[in-house]
């Protein structure tokens, strides 16, 4: 009788590689974070074309670019930029994660595999000055630049960060089956905001390749720009629904 392996399912680590996963399991505590969020009105047609069918748009349609810098995480410091679609899930205000750039390989892998955040590797900048906060996103060239100008302090409880919806996908190896898993998950982290500011916002997108089309949701009218310093987390999903 040949010897069987001894690695049973309950012994398998939470993800591959089993000998040494790239990242620990959720939730992740993220203290000492900084976040710049610009909310802007955008075009209806591309927004609808990229919004899952169970979600609906607001009127007018709007999107968000969020630049986040995490000085301390289970995989070390990293920064990420996400373009989100402002939407409604039934009666509730949500933000659907459309595309993300992150500057850390283990963070990128975890964001994709665990939370369904559509992350690609690239460069993310966040520069905070006395009157101005600037964020930038690039991958083989700049994709987006956002700014908050003339920052003024505001009460932290005025900042609203809507829960994120992300699309978890497991591609299939079966013929005629596209996905083994396709579901929407809701990430609703705790946000303990210590400092917050608002100011005039600006968003600009560079002409990009099809692979990195951050200009797919153009900025037609900036609504607000907020910068926060906070402790937060990448949590377990609060809600999951089949696609």
């Amino acid at each position: 009788m040949p010897d069987q392996g001894r690695l049973t399912e309950d012994q398998v680590t939470h993800t591959i590689p089993t000998l040494s996963p790239l990242y620990p399991p959720p939730p992740w505590k993220l203290p000492g974070a900084r976040m710049l969020r610009i909310v802007f009105e955008t075009d209806k047609e591309p927004l609808l074309a990229n919004l899952p069918a169970k979600l609906t748009r607001s009127s007018p349609p709007y999107a968000v670019v969020s630049i986040e810098s995490y000085s301390d995480s289970p995989v070390g410091p990293f920064a990420m930029a996400t373009q989100l679609i402002g939407c409604r899930a039934g009666f509730f205000i949500r933000a659907f994660a459309l595309q993300t750039v992150v500057n850390s390989v283990p963070a990128m892998a975890a964001l994709r595999e665990v939370w369904g955040i559509p992350a690609k590797q690239g460069k993310v900048g966040l520069s905070v000055k006395k009157t101005k906060v600037r964020g930038s996103v690039s991958r083989d060239g700049e994709l987006a630049a956002v700014e908050l100008i003339g920052r003024e302090p505001i009460a932290p409880d005025l900042c609203r960060i809507d829960p994120t919806l992300a699309l978890r996908l497991a591609p299939s190896l079966q013929q005629d089956t596209r996905h083994d898993l396709i579901q929407l998950v809701q990430l609703d982290p705790e946000y303990n905001i210590s400092q917050s500011y608002r100011g005039r916002g600006s968003v600009s997108f560079s002409s990009s390749s099809e692979a990195d089309a951050w200009d797919i949701l153009p900025s037609r009218n900036v609504i607000s720009a907020v910068y926060c310093e906070l402790d937060t987390e990448l949590p377990l999903a609060r809600f999951v629904m089949p696609y």
Partner: protein, 376 residues
Amino acid sequence: MKFGIFHELSVGKPWTAESESTVYFNALEQVELADELGFDQTWAVEHHFLEEYSHCSAPEVFLAAAAVRTKRIHLGHGVMMVLPPFNHPIRCAERAAALDIISGGRLEFGTGRSATWTELGGYRCEPDETKNMWDEAVRAIPKMWTQDTYAHKGKYFSMPERPVLPKPYQKPHPPIWVAVSSPETAIQAAERGIGCLGVSIGTPGEYEKRVQDYRRVVKGCEPVGEFVNEQVNGVTFLYVDETDEEAGTWGTKLAYQFAYLAAHLIGISSVYPSTAYKTPGLLFGLRAGTEERAPGGGGVIREGMGIGSPQTVIKNLKMWEEIGVDRMVFIINTAEVVPQKKVLNSLRLFAEHVMPAFDRDPQAERATAASSTAGA
């Protein structure tokens, strides 16, 4: 207690060439019937750009049409945007006075400032400034009505001395109200001696403290007009049918659809951090209560809603009476989810069976425009 109806003029998709016309003329038919049945007021909102939710951007036109089709029902702006970027205060005074004349003195002048980014952003109106804009306008408009001539030099508008014409038919002027969706605004209404026009759909329990605060503060008010309009107006849904079950089927569809469309508005506080908009306002509080769907595709019936058999509706509306609300105003349809025939039947059942259970003697009111005196 007095009763009124309330129109957002919501137009559900898919739209056809006739969709808006159908909604407008159905609403006018409802107003005509309400007038015949003894309802006391009909209110029309002013909203801009709120697709599906409200296509009522020119309420003065709708209310003028209602005025010429009716004899006694009061016509309410619920509310007119009195912010200069939307409507210059002079135009507010002029239009309101003309409507008061056309209606033979039946105007109720509700004022407001909007709670959506959709509207404020559309008119390039700075959210931080809307409360102060409203305050400046609501103090000026009564003077435009009552003084032979008026001049103004303020932060948000100014005008050299002019006679603002016409003057309202009601003397000294129509009752003034403000849309109230937060406890703070209820107190501000009381401080100014104007009516508390509830526009957030809540329960009697949620309104109770607001009513108490209003009554307490209004006693020491400094009225912006020539008299104190000490009245509190609540709002809820109305659908009356022969049985609770039948009423629940249609009434919850109405409530669900209304809340669903409201959920797609962009409240200021959800996208723009401002101390002027700390609460979600408007109807957003309704979301959680209606998310749970009832059998038959509707939402749920919350405490105090006018949905049910006549007996149930009497019981529910008594709860509002007990907390001191003077008037209840009803949303009677949304995006035509309830067939017009049923809406009209609901109004008839209400008038026949529910109204008689309430004391609607004008003498029973706490203080009305007609009976109050300046500075009272």
